[in-house]
């Protein structure tokens, strides 16, 4: 089944998000309260809903409680974005809520309201300019890994109880080299979801719930994932 996501606000940012997600094969529902934006979304062939999402009934009718994977709160109104973030979090504890803010104060509020991630377009743009001026070649390589559909990708593997890495030490894992895979590090549940870079001196013991972060070619990633999970068809 396709992952279903809501884009709240078909703004210039919202439309870009919606189109990018559609390209990646997500099922995108566009919600907006602005007629012009809705028309634009319709023209771009999205399923549209004329809602403000300021009452829970609208959210529930869209399946927010169990049928939606993520919501992007990027409407033109900061207040609405904040309100919707809070309502959604209240209805569903696990859903990914991504929002956007141009100031630190606003971003803090959104995080308190329950946003999973708040992006700051100004920060991202500034970083991009800086990296392009100082290290253009490196930037291109990393952008290829992170953003494009190139063969090289970054991926994550969730460690379950049956995983062959369960109870092993991070330092002792060498097998990924046979798969032509780079092991960058691990996200540890016990250490407050902090990312541990692989080479950090501490010899970390892997257990259930940890998440490995790897980089490699798509085929190798898939083979490695199957190997680690001990299943042939296993996915996260």
């Amino acid at each position: 089944m396709k992952n279903r996501v809501i884009v709240y606000g078909y703004t210039s940012l919202g439309s870009k998000i919606a189109i990018t997600l559609k390209d990646k094969d997500y099922e995108v529902l566009v919600v907006d309260f602005d007629e012009d934006n809705l028309l634009k979304a319709k023209k771009d062939e999205f399923k549209t809903y004329n809602y403000t999402l300021l009452n829970d009934d609208e959210l529930i009718s869209l399946g927010i409680e169990n049928k939606i994977d993520s919501i992007f709160c990027v409407s033109k109104s900061d207040k609405n974005n904040l309100f919707v973030t809070l309502s959604v979090r209240n209805l569903n504890r696990n859903l990914k809520i991504i929002s956007v803010s141009k100031t630190k104060a606003e971003s803090k509020k959104l995080l308190v309201a329950g946003a999973t991630k708040v992006l700051n377009p100004n920060d991202l743009g500034a970083l991009k300019i800086y990296r392009n001026l100082t290290k253009p070649l490196m930037t291109k390589v990393l952008d290829d890994i992170l953003f494009t559909k190139s063969d090289l990708n970054i991926s994550q593997i969730y460690i379950n109880k049956n995983s062959i890495f369960n109870q092993k030490f991070l330092k002792n894992i060498k097998v990924h080299k046979q798969f032509n895979i780079l092991l960058l590090g691990i996200m540890d549940k016990e250490l407050g979801d902090k990312f541990i870079f692989k080479t950090k001196g501490i010899n970390h013991k892997i257990d259930e719930g940890d998440i490995l972060v790897i980089v490699g070619k798509n085929n190798d990633l898939q083979r490695f994932r199957q190997y680690v999970e001990g299943t042939v068809n296993g996915t996260i």
Binding site: N3, V5, S12, L13, K16, I17, I19, T20, L21, K24, Y26, D69, S70, F72, K96, I98, V100, K117, L119, P121, N122, L124, G125, L127, K128, I129, R131, N132, L133, K135, L137, M138, V141, L142, D144, I145, L146, F147, L152, I154, S155, Q156, K177, N180, L182, L183, L184, G185, M187, F195, F197, K198, T199, K200, I211, V213, I214, V215, G216, K217
Partner: protein, 185 residues
């Protein structure tokens, strides 16, 4: 144009970054700067995607569309939040423990001519992501440890590690200390 000249465009300025939220102002600055200096590096913000081709035509080298970047980040994030946070965190230097950096192979480094696998990156607590081969039109070779790769001048190694480790490795490239211990046995 007068103002651009006054601030050094056409003389001392090597780069100009145009960041107005009004594309017309950016366009005029890009055009002015390119007229005054054929070689200056011009970076500009583009707010409306339709203006992109015009800014390029006017002579901009590099265009930034913040919405486009945010959209890419947002859509990539929901697929693999942990992996993305990890690499992006390293890039943003949020995680002070490690950073992504490049090591350029310059003249005088003793490492030139050696096989890349003779360097023990693990020993430095460094992960080698790959090499940019400058001789082959900046082709990126991912994880060259499983193949034989001879290091040439002007190659760029892309690594993740602590600042101090990367610095140490760079210094050691100038003498012979980079080789794996087994070679000394």
């Amino acid at each position: 144009m007068d103002f651009l000249e006054k601030i050094g465009v056409g003389k001392t300025a090597v780069t100009i970054i145009c960041l107005f939220e009004n594309d017309a102002i950016n366009l005029s600055a890009v055009l002015g700067a390119r007229t005054l200096d054929a070689n200056i590096k011009i970076v500009t913000l583009v707010n409306n995607i339709e203006v992109e081709s015009k800014l390029k035509l006017a002579g901009a080298n590099f265009l930034i569309n913040p919405n486009q970047i945010s959209a890419m980040v947002a859509s990539e994030y929901i697929g693999q939040p942990v992996a993305f946070d990890a690499l992006y965190g390293i890039l943003l230097n949020e995680d002070i423990s490690a950073e992504v950096d490049e090591i350029e192979i310059v003249e005088g480094m003793q490492i030139i001519g050696f096989d890349i696998n003779q360097i023990d990156f693990d020993d430095y607590n460094i992960v080698l992501i790959g090499v940019i081969d400058t001789k082959q039109n900046h082709k990126f070779i991912f994880n060259p440890t499983n193949i034989k790769y001879t290091i040439k001048q002007n190659d760029i190694l892309i690594v993740i590690g602590y600042k101090s480790s990367i610095k140490e490795l760079k210094t050691n490239f100038f003498n012979n200390k980079f080789l794996k211990v087994q070679d000394e046995k």
